[in-house]
């Protein structure tokens, strides 16, 4: 097995009396494609938020690339190579597509390369990223001019612009048509082939099965299954959690 990139140990998070995460353990290897599923309210997004620093976990530790992440702000984790896309696309509405892609290049790219990109390099990289996700013709348009699927692609392209080691795609396919889902899965696999480790949170099982090399299931803040996709979807506990006992 490849070296471990992300280690989540005994992570817990409560919102008042509600236990959102209850001692979650998760290890993700370098280059792996992991699917994270679970019913609504199972704690998937809370786990992502704790990993990315949007929320701070109350118990347990998050280790990324050999470094402890606890206490680090979200932007510091992005600088270390952890990027995410949001469940609902959150483009910067007053910036063009190119400018949206430029933000991670301006604020993150230099942290690992050790130097800021020149204007020309930055423009080339924006072109390249937009080309990768099929947004090149709309590079100078505003996010409001994009379709739903283009918005999702922008969200992914912006996350990739941070040159991440780990990409967490939080429900990148919600509300998309079948062919659009296919496009995004294809894109994520293409990114993985470029060496980016990916955790995909998704409800669309067809996409999850097509993408994942490993599947993790959360229910009520607990991990109930972790293994090969075919084994996990036939696990009686998982079937019970989704369909009811």
């Amino acid at each position: 097995m490849a070296a471990s990139l992300l280690q989540v140990e005994n992570v817990g998070k409560r919102f008042g009396g509600f236990v959102a995460l209850d001692g979650i353990n998760l290890e993700v290897a370098q280059g792996e494609r992991v699917g994270l599923i679970g019913p609504n309210g199972s704690g998937k997004s809370t786990l992502v938020n704790c990993m990315c620093g949007t929320l701070q976990n109350e118990t347990g530790t998050v280790q990324f690339d050999g470094h402890a992440m606890n206490g680090l702000a979200a932007h510091q984790r992005t600088h270390r190579g952890m990027a995410r896309s949001f469940q609902l696309p959150r483009p910067f509405p007053t910036l063009s597509v190119a400018e949206n892609l430029r933000i991670p290049l301006l604020f993150t790219a230099h942290t690992r390369s050790g130097r800021h990109l020149t204007q020309a390099e930055s423009e080339d990289r924006c072109q390249e990223l937009a080309g990768l996700v099929g947004l090149a013709p709309k590079l100078h348009r505003l996010p409001r001019d994009l379709t739903q699927v283009e918005m999702r692609k922008l969200e992914l392209a912006r996350a990739i612009a941070a040159d991440p080691k780990l990409l967490i795609a939080d429900e990148s396919m919600a509300g998309l048509s079948q062919s659009e889902v296919g496009d995004i899965v294809e894109l994520l696999i293409k990114l993985n082939e470029r060496g980016i480790t990916i955790i995909m949170i998704e409800h669309i099982m067809r996409a999850v099965m097509a993408f994942s090399q490993r599947l993790v299931v959360l229910v009520s803040g607990k991990k109930i299954a972790d293994g090969k996709p075919d084994d996990v979807v036939n696990n009686p506990e998982v079937i019970g959690a989704y369909l009811g006992q």
Binding site: H75, F86, T94, A159
Partner: protein, 355 residues
């Protein structure tokens, strides 16, 4: 090259106005012009935090007053060296004090900048109405402190007797006008540099979506501190020469509602997304208020501001810049050739959409 034309143009316009006012021989033009220029600095400073970052500051008058009162305190120290300094230090103090107005502006900027930094630090987690209320509270707290600080005159106020003439320039008001002219060019240059830099992009992401900004690696808390400090410092710099302009400074004039309201209204009317907005808003509102002061009454000034603000919020929520930017940006030809309109859009930093 664009920056060169910007600075050259600013200096030429300023020099032309100065020469015109001197040729007319009417000092009132300098008095009125000073107020308009002061509002350009205040509006530009407010816009750095309020327009670029989306953090509405209702406490502009407090930062302005801090600059004014730091000048009053230093002026009083300078005028009474023997009284406030021990004999051993009086000799050295007399070499330094009283300070000239440009130095007082720098000190006022530093003091207000530090207060801006402190305010930013204390209100880091607040946003929207909560941040606005916190800045309003800051103004009330500072006004209470000044009212109870006898050294700067407390509630009685303080007199500043300024020299009548300045060598090579003439009347003192002309000297103050020149200083405020330079300060407004500096303020606009700072805003313009910010807009075109990495900092400007960072501020825009804070205004649009802080959570997404953090996810993109933008250190939002640090940038907010930078914005509150720069904005506070420029407001303090605008306030520092004010005691010399007005001659008698009391808390109610330094902390006046007009400063807080105008600082917000001018960028809102001009447009908050480009450095041109506060400039246009301050020129428009400032000139209208000066004309109203001499033709009707100074009491109608705030009414004019209020009515214009309501009108613009309804008719042109993106301000005057918002009204013209689509026209300006639309000037580029399909083959990519630039026209005067598209060149102006680039010069004025009229980015796509609302920016």
């Amino acid at each position: 090259m664009r920056s060169f034309f910007f600075y050259l143009g600013s200096l030429l316009v300023g020099a032309a106005f100065f020469a015109f006012a001197r040729w007319l021989g009417n000092d009132y033009l300098f008095f009125a012009g000073y107020t308009v220029l002061q509002f350009i600095v205040l509006a530009t400073a407010w816009n750095i935090l309020g327009g670029y970052c989306g953090y509405v500051n209702f406490g502009s008058a407090a930062f302005f007053a801090v600059g004014s009162y730091s000048s009053v305190a230093l002026h009083k120290l300078g005028m009474n060296v023997d009284r406030y300094f021990p004999e051993s230090l009086a000799g050295i103090a007399k070499l330094i004090l009283p300070l000239n107005v440009p130095t007082l502006i720098i000190i006022g900027g530093i003091v207000s900048g530090l207060i801006g930094l402190g305010t930013g630090y204390l209100t880091l987690r607040l946003r929207g109405a909560f941040f606005a209320i916190a800045t309003l509270a800051l103004a009330v707290v500072l006004q209470t402190l000044i009212v109870n600080w006898d050294f700067v005159g407390g509630s009685r106020g303080a007199y500043i007797i300024r020299p009548a003439e300045v060598p090579f320039i003439g009347h003192y008001i002309q000297y103050l006008f020149l200083i405020m002219l330079v300060l407004s060019v500096v303020a606009i240059a700072v805003a313009r540099i910010i807009e075109q830099s990495r900092l400007g992009y960072g501020f825009a992401t804070i205004r649009d979506d802080e959570l997404a900004a953090e996810a993109c690696g933008v250190p939002t808390l640090k940038l907010k501190l930078v914005a509150t400090t720069i904005s506070g410092a420029l407001m303090g710099m605008a306030g520092a020469p004010f005691p010399y302009y007005i001659g008698y400074l009391e808390p109610s004039s330094a902390f006046g509602l007009a400063y807080a309201v105008n600082s917000i209204a001018m960028p809102m009317i001009g447009g908050t997304t480009s450095w041109v907005g506060p400039l246009v808003g301050a020129l428009l509102l400032g000139i209208i208020q000066q004309v109203a002061t001499v033709t009707i009454s100074s009491a109608v000034n705030l009414l004019i501001v209020g009515l214009l603000l309501v009108g613009f919020v309804i008719v042109a929520p993106k301000g005057i810049v918002g009204l013209v930017q689509d026209y300006m940006r639309g000037g580029a030809r399909t083959d990519g050739t630039k026209t005067w309109r598209s060149r102006f859009a680039i010069f004025a930093n009229m980015r796509p959409g609302a920016r």
